[in-house]
């Protein structure tokens, strides 16, 4: 029985079956993308989850162990150490390039002689392949024959062990990351600086504001959304860094530079503990998603408002 029409109420579409037909047609359009996403993203994820609940032998045998792999991970000191090490590495390899990148962007935003050439030179590290860079740095870090210790000796500083000491390996690897990726932060922030309005600065000058005050109260709030973009990119990149560590230190000395990603590589591709490695993947994924959501939330809060 049809309901009585209420005056002023929105009328139901006259041709509901037609709308239904249109939806079905739309399915055809999104089907290719849905299939690809399903095969490339959803299925591997479900399969990884399934594998993480198994004792999975690469020779073909596997047994269901429910959450045993996760339970084992929580008591695996090497895994826990690698997780904290990953956070420590990520913190350093994110914040230092951000600080230096913002500073470099402010410098290169000003007019000065040879600015274009110098800016190009500054960006060059970013263009090189990480593995090639890692190989060059490995030679430079050699305690006896590396150029870095030679340069230190010229100014009377004792040789340094660089990546060949468990206590200095993480800061040294961060040094490589900083050298490699500070230009990226600089480019992102420089893009933001180029788009800033000039009116607030003119008003501030008239009001007698100092350079620091103009940076603190005008420039910084306006470039903050760009800094947040750089922060998100750097955080995710630092969390999943692998090639630099694999080439330069191979997780060593001992396990001193073994991050989550390297631990995962060893379990999956060296020891062939595929079920255990899948559990690491799941935990790693949760960490990345949580951090990304946090950063995206912060970015949302720093967006310009009307």
């Amino acid at each position: 029985m049809a309901a009585p029409a209420t005056p002023g109420a929105r009328q139901a579409p006259a041709s509901t079956p037609y709308v239904y037909d249109v939806t079905r047609k739309y399915w055809l359009f999104i089907a290719p993308a849905t299939i690809v996403v399903g095969l490339v993203i959803v299925f591997p994820w479900i399969f990884t989850l399934w594998m993480s609940a198994h004792e999975w032998n690469v020779t073909g045998d596997h047994a269901f162990v429910a959450l045993a792999n996760y339970k084992k991970l929580l008591t695996d000191q090497r895994f826990l150490d690698s997780m904290w090490r990953t956070f420590w590495f990520t913190l350093l390899a994110t914040l230092i390039p951000i600080v230096l990148g913002v500073w470099a962007a402010l410098v290169f935003h000003r007019e000065f002689p040879f600015r274009g050439i110098l800016r190009t030179v500054f960006v060059m590290p970013m263009m090189a392949t990480p593995v090639a860079i890692a190989l060059v740095w490995t030679m430079m870090f050699h305690p006896q024959l590396g150029v870095l210790n030679y340069l230190l000796s010229l100014v009377g500083i004792a040789p340094f062990a660089w990546v060949y000491d468990p206590n200095t390996v993480i800061p040294t690897l961060v040094l490589v990351e900083v050298w490699h990726w500070t230009p990226l932060v600089m480019l992102i922030v420089l893009g933001g600086l180029a788009g800033l309005p000039t009116d607030p600065y003119e008003a501030a000058l008239i009001d007698g504001a100092s350079s620091w005050q103009m940076f603190r109260y005008i420039t910084w709030p306006l470039i903050l959304p760009y800094v947040m973009i750089a922060l998100v990119i750097r955080t995710i990149d630092s969390l999943k860094v692998f090639d630099t560590i694999a080439v330069i230190s191979q997780g060593g000395p001992g396990t001193a530079s073994e991050t989550l990603n390297y631990f995962l590589y060893l379990q999956a591709f060296q020891f062939y503990n595929l079920g255990y490695a899948s559990a690491v993947v799941v935990i790693f994924f949760v960490i990345i998603i949580a951090l990304s959501l946090l950063l995206l939330y912060l970015r949302q809060r720093t967006k310009w408002t009307d």
Binding site: W162, S249, P253, G254
Partner: protein, 448 residues
């Protein structure tokens, strides 16, 4: 394309022969083969085989020989070289799938021997060795050294591969530095310590000894010391011997040599850093595989050309051994072109191709005849001492790694323990902890 298929009668004959011969070791089988029907290199003309190789100079030589093989047999070879670690992963995954894409695979038997046996990856070559129509009369199976053959022969006698290369661990020493300090080549492991003490001169940046400190890579250094006690890391019945007094002694030796006389940063050194230290005259002794003579005698890469001494690893408290590592070529059990694949294996491991490895400085071949070639010895830039060192090391060769499935995990767990020792940890405590960690891994590997 010409296809050669075996008749039912021939298969029955071959099967019966294989059954009879399976009880015999491969050398007897090879002798038996010579009395059978005529061998024809063109028998599998027109076939094409796929070969999986490891990226190294020996594989370059193998690929260079493919043209000659095609002319000789009419068999086309499609081979690829993959870097070692990735190649092992590829072999593992493809063999486990049951349908590998290659017919012949190069295997690092010191790592993959037990795994390949348990997974039943490879064809037992004995029936083909027994078949005179499939095995060339020139094969001369007895020419292969015992060390290489041990790696390629399963405990039940199956001949799973043919050896191509054997790596002997030796002690490189800088003759000039030894002369300057009036030190003689050490005759015992204790003397290695005292020699290193005399040779270390930190004011000149010269260190008495260098060896691998990087985890995983460092394990053969420790096992080399351990072999001086006459024991290996795993007993024949599969028990770990890694926290025994002998293993702890080897750990102490490893620790004191690397802490007291090695260059700074040795804790992160792999062979390449060691090579750099030795080649620049900054290290007086270097314990490592025999394959580094080529760069050490190359003036463009080394400052110690002509000054390098090659010595057999000195004797330990109870024994004298050289840690050995070996590679081999095996035929996939599921290959449909086993005949052509076997022809390839025979050709690529023949006397001439093995000699080429030696001539080109690509390592130490598995055939004894290569070292007996006086012309090569005379013309070699390595000098007679290198050849003598290989032959003497071969006499005392013993596996440097245990024949178990989780070799890589073994190297990782004990590698970390050794690294910690260089940082000052107590060898007994570290080895006890590592043994407790690895014991369940070893047990589980044989259960699955």
């Amino acid at each position: 394309m010409t296809q050669h298929r075996m008749s039912r009668r021939r298969i029955l004959k071959a099967g019966a022969a294989a059954g009879l011969l399976s009880a015999l070791p491969a050398p007897f089988v090879a002798r038996f083969a010579l009395g059978q029907s005529a061998f024809d290199w063109k028998r599998f003309k027109g076939e094409k085989i796929d070969v999986l190789l490891v990226k190294n100079p020996r594989s370059d030589l193998m690929q260079a020989a493919e043209k000659e093989f095609l002319e000789l047999t009419g068999i086309t070879v499609s081979s690829e070289q993959v870097p070692e670690q990735q190649q092992r992963q590829k072999a593992m995954i493809e063999f486990s799938s049951g349908k590998p894409t290659f017919d012949v695979a190069h295997l690092s038997m010191h790592v993959q021997k037990r795994l390949s046996e348990k997974g039943n990856w490879l064809e037992d070559l004995r029936p083909m060795l027994a078949d005179g129509s499939l095995t060339t009369p020139d094969l001369d199976f007895n020419d292969f050294g015992k060390a290489g053959l041990n790696f390629c022969t399963a405990a039940d006698g199956k001949q799973n591969a043919i050896p191509t290369f054997v790596d002997y661990w030796i002690l490189y020493y800088n003759k000039e530095l030894f002369e300057q300090k009036g030190v003689a080549y050490p005759t015992s492991m204790d003397e290695v310590y005292t020699a290193a003490q005399k040779l270390t001169d930190t004011s000149k940046g010269v260190y008495g000894f260098v060896s691998r400190g990087l985890k995983n890579a460092n394990v053969p250094v420790w096992t080399s010391w351990l072999l001086g006690q006459g024991v290996e890391t795993v007993s024949k019945d599969g028990k770990l011997l890694t926290d025994t007094p002998e293993a702890i002694w080897a750990g102490e030796q490893y620790k004191r040599m690397n802490r007291e006389f090695a260059p700074p940063g040795t804790v992160g050194f792999n062979w390449n850093e060691c090579q750099t230290s030795f080649a620049t005259g900054r290290a007086a002794m270097w314990l490592d595989g025999i394959g580094f003579a080529t760069p050490l005698e190359d003036p463009s890469k080394s400052k110690v050309v002509g000054k390098v001494g090659y010595g057999v690893v000195p004797k330990g408290p109870k024994a004298q051994h050289s840690a050995i590592f070996g590679d081999g070529l095996g035929i996939s059990r599921t290959s449909t072109k086993k005949g052509a694949a076997w022809f390839y294996v025979q050709f690529i491991t023949n006397k001439q191709n093995q000699l080429n490895i030696l001539k080109n400085g690509a390592g130490s071949p598995a055939r004894n005849s290569a070292f007996a070639n006086q012309e090569v010895v005379r013309e070699s830039k390595f000098g007679k001492q290198w050849f003598d060192c290989v032959l003497e090391s071969a006499k005392v060769g013993r596996p440097g790694l245990p024949v178990i499935i989780p070799v890589t995990e073994f190297r990782d767990v004990f590698g970390v323990a050794l690294t910690n020792m260089i940082s000052g940890a107590d060898p007994a405590a570290e080895l006890k902890k590592a043994t407790e960690t690895f014991q369940p891994v070893l047990q589980k590997s044989e259960q699955g």
